[in-house]
Structure formats: C-alpha cells, structure tokens
C-alpha cells in the first residue's frame, strides 16, 4: 500500500521537475527586445494603490490614451499593500523589457528610510513621466478656535502633545507636512492615524481630531460647504484653486527651501530597460497626456499637471526624496538615517 503511494508520489515529482526544467530553459532564450518591434505583447500596468484612489483614477484614465499612441494593449492591474512596496518589488522582479510599467505615487521614495523595502525610485527605476502633483492644506473644523496657522502652531508649542493631528500613515502627505512643522517650528502634536483622505475628513467632521493636512482639492469641497476652514497651503505660493488661502511661506519664510514638494503621480520602468524603449514610452506618455479630457480629469482631481520626463523628472523625484526623507528623519520618524543611502539634504545641493 505505502509502496504504491510512494511510487505515485515520486512519479509526480519527476514530472514536475522535468516540466520545471523545460520551462526554465525556454525563458532564458527570449530576452533581447528592440524598440522597433516593441510592444511585442500586452504591456502590464501595475498600480501601487488600490481601486478608487487618486493614483488608480489617473492611471486608468490615461491607459486607453497611451494604448492609442503605442499601438498595443496596456492591461492595468492593482497590487496594493505595504504602501505600494509589493507592487514596486513585483515590477522590479519582472524582465527589464518595458512590458511591465509601475504606476506609482511618491511613496517608494521613503521605503528605505522607513524600513519598508529596499527598493527605491532613484536606484531601481527610470521615470518615464511624472503626470502631476498635489498640494496639501492645513485644515481645521469650522467651529475650531484656530483662525490662522499661527494659532495652531502657538497652541501646539504651549501645550505639547495635546493637539490631535490626524494623518494617514507613515510617510503620507499629512505626516511629512507635520514633520515639516515639527522640524522648523519645534512643535509637538499628538498624532492619530487614519486610512486616507476620506477617513481623515470624516474624523475632522466628527471633531475627533483638531487639525489635519488634506489635499487642497479634497479640502476645498468642505470649505465651500462651510464645514472646514483652510488655514494654509503647504507651498511657496497661493494656488489658483484656493486663491484666498495664504501659502505657508507667508507666515514662515523658512519653509522656502523645501519647495517644490508634494505628493506626485508618475510612471516608471525597471532601470535596465533599453534606452530605445524608454524613449518610445516617454514619447507615448507625453503625447497621451496632452489630451484635453485627461487634463480635465487631472484638474477635477485637484492635480496640477506637470507632464515632465527625462532628466527633469529624475531631478524632480530626487528633490522630493531628499525633502521627505530628511524631514522624517529630523522629526524622528525615520527608521534609518537618509545618510546611509547617500541621500543629500535639500539645503546642501
């Protein structure tokens, strides 16, 4: 009886081994790709956040436009988890032939210092295009006693750890923005974490938290409805969409050096992807983004279009990384010092 079982099992193992070996043999022989025949098959677009987020919305609306330019099909899938580190690792592990694209936000810039993953845009990926950027605004409830950003800062200084500041996870916009305040102004907040802009807005509506940083476009809706008051825009100049809200540099000029900074969305490929393919993709994404409907989509999402690529995009991502990582480090939120990864400080370059 047992003997028979062993026979079946060993046969099974043998079959599997052969199958495995043949498969390995096959995959080794097909790698050389050149731009003229690209794309040879469906391109996978991997989105680092789940369905329904800003990154998802932007990527999915852009995908059909890029398909037209490239003349192949671009299949989008969401691989959320671990702040996008799962998707980032996945794209990194695929062959560097331009058939797997990473649709990402600013998060991978922080993986190293937050000890989430060893992957990172600057070392492991080449940016194809940066679509656009968001801005954050400091908001309080309409019934709040705080009238200006100075009120908030002064209160937090006098009562360290008593002001409930909502944020959405390590390395998020509210987190880095609050770290900015802590680093420059020596304030101390009591952080209460939520799962994103929606829950943060809900918490502020229910007055569970005293203040938070929301993306300006999301916050503006509640400001118009008379629920929230926006005290300051985290930028060096006022925004068109919220013209009457002063930029943070108006109250605290020391912040100048951090800008331009903000959460961004873009598309990336593995750094070993052949240049010719990178160029082809870059051109396709550049033209696709000029579509008027897409520009309108960005606008209604509150994203300021950038449509930058090449060296410019690399510099942009690099600066964003320097600002965010050092801010988190100075606020004591980083696990490892940015120095260990040779990330320069913003004011040093």
């Amino acid at each position: 009886m047992i003997k028979k079982n062993i026979k079946i099992l060993s046969l099974f193992v043998a079959v599997m081994l052969t199958a495995f070996l043949t498969a390995c043999g096959n995959s080794n022989s097909s790698s050389e790709t050149d731009a003229s025949s690209y794309p040879e098959k469906d391109i996978d677009g991997v989105i680092i956040w789940g369905e329904g987020g800003a990154t998802d919305n932007i990527s999915r609306t852009l995908a059909p436009l890029v398909e037209e330019e490239l003349g192949g099909s671009l299949v989008m899938q969401n691989k959320e988890g671990a702040s996008g580190a799962i998707a980032t690792q996945y794209v990194y592990d695929q062959p560097a032939d331009g058939h797997t694209l990473l649709f990402g936000a600013e998060n991978p810039n922080l993986y190293q210092v937050l000890d989430i993953s060893e992957r990172d845009y600057m070392n492991d990926f080449t940016p194809i295009s940066i679509f656009g950027q968001n801005f954050g605004g400091l908001v309080v409830h309409e019934d709040s006693e705080f009238e200006t950003i100075e009120d908030v800062i002064d209160f937090a200084k006098e009562n360290p750890g008593e002001l409930n500041m909502g944020y959405s996870g390590e390395g998020s916009l509210p987190h880095v923005a609050s770290a900015m305040l802590e680093a420059e102004l020596d304030t101390e907040f009591n952080y209460v974490p939520y799962d994103g802009d929606g829950p943060l807005a809900t918490a502020l509506l229910g007055k569970e938290i005293d203040a938070t940083v929301l993306s300006v476009s999301a916050a503006q809706e509640y400001v118009d409805a008379g629920d929230f008051r926006m005290l300051s825009v985290i930028n060096d100049e006022a925004l068109e969409t919220a013209a009457d809200v002063p930029p943070i540099t108006e109250s605290y000029p020391a912040f100048e050096k951090y800008f331009p900074w903000g959460p961004f969305q873009g598309v990336f490929v593995h750094k070993d992807t052949p240049d010719s393919i990178v160029t082809k993709l870059t051109d396709a994404f550049e033209t696709a983004q000029e579509n008027e409907d897409f520009q309108n989509t960005l606008e209604s999402l509150g994203v300021v279009p950038l449509n930058i690529n090449g060296e410019e995009a690399v510099e942009y991502v690099d600066k964003n990384r320097s600002t965010s990582t050092w801010l988190l480090h100075d606020a004591g939120a980083a696990e490892t010092s940015p120095e260990e990864f040779d990330i320069p400080r913003v004011d040093e370059d």
Partner: protein
C-alpha cells in the same frame, strides 16, 4: 494514554497561543504595556486564547472521565465520535492524494501557464475520482477552461501566471 489523546486539542491550543504571545512580545518598536501600540492588542488576544486552551484541556478531561464512568450514556459525545469514525484510512488517503493533485496544479500553474495546467488537472482529477466517461471528461475540462479563461482573462484582464 486515553486521557492524553483527548486533551491533545487543548494542549495544541495552548502551544499555539504561547507562540502568538511570544511573537507579540518580541515585536519590534512596540511596547506591550501601551494600549495604543501595535502589540498590546495581539498580546491580549493571545492571553484570551491561552485561557480558552486551558479551559478546553479541563473540559475534555472531565468529559472523558464522565464518559469512562458512564459508558452506557454516550448520547452527547457520540455525535462527535461519529464524525471522526466515519473518516476511514481509505477516505484520508483519497483526500490526501487529491490534495496533492491540487498542490501539483498550483505548482505547475506558473510553469506551464494556465491552459495546459488546468486542463491536465481537470483531466487527471476527474479520472482519479472515477465514474466519468472519457468523452465527458475531456468536454467538461475544455469547456471549463474556456469559460474561466474568457471570464477572468478576457473580461477581467487578469494576467494569468
């Protein structure tokens, strides 16, 4: 011997909860006594699980003692015994081999790609479970794969391994 066997589930429960508890204690960057930290709640749950395990040991022991004492009255326990007994060695063998087939399918899936792997799996498993004619077997296998492929891959854009 008999009492050890009956308290096995309880002992297993205690071991599992101790493992969880130890993992909660060694968790990095968390402090177990602070209710706001990430390890307080898991540790609390582990303790509750531990309690449940200990209770089970005693319950099982007392119930087996009762059982031994009044062998005539077995009505409550007999249900459980029934479920256990109806699983013969032959049943387990069937289930084990079938499960191995499923594992084989999962291992082959990324290697052979979906079509051949699923087809092979469906063919062999229906053959293994007996009672299905070859013609029906092949037709059903092909039809299933085509439907699943169409639904998942074409309609839902899922990239198969």
């Amino acid at each position: 011997m008999y009492s050890f066997k009956s308290s096995l589930p309880g002992i297993l429960m205690v071991i599992v909860s101790l493992l969880v508890l130890s993992q909660a204690v060694v968790m990095e960057n968390q402090s177990i006594i602070d209710p706001a930290s990430g390890s307080f709640f898991p540790a609390l749950i582990a303790l509750i699980m531990l309690g449940a395990g200990i209770v089970t040991i005693f319950q099982d022991r007392s119930s087996t003692q009762k059982k031994a004492a009044e062998t005539a009255e077995q009505e409550n326990e007999s249900n459980e015994a029934d479920a256990l007994e109806t699983f013969t060695k032959k049943d387990y063998k069937l289930i084990l081999i079938y499960f191995c087939l499923v594992i084989g399918f999962v291992i082959l899936l990324p290697i052979l790609t979906f079509f051949p792997a699923a087809f092979l799996f469906l063919l062999t498993s229906m053959f293994y479970l007996k009672g299905v004619s070859w013609l029906l077997n092949v037709t059903v296998s092909l039809a299933t794969i085509v439907v699943i492929y169409f639904l998942f891959s074409q309609l839902f854009n899922i990239v198969f391994p």
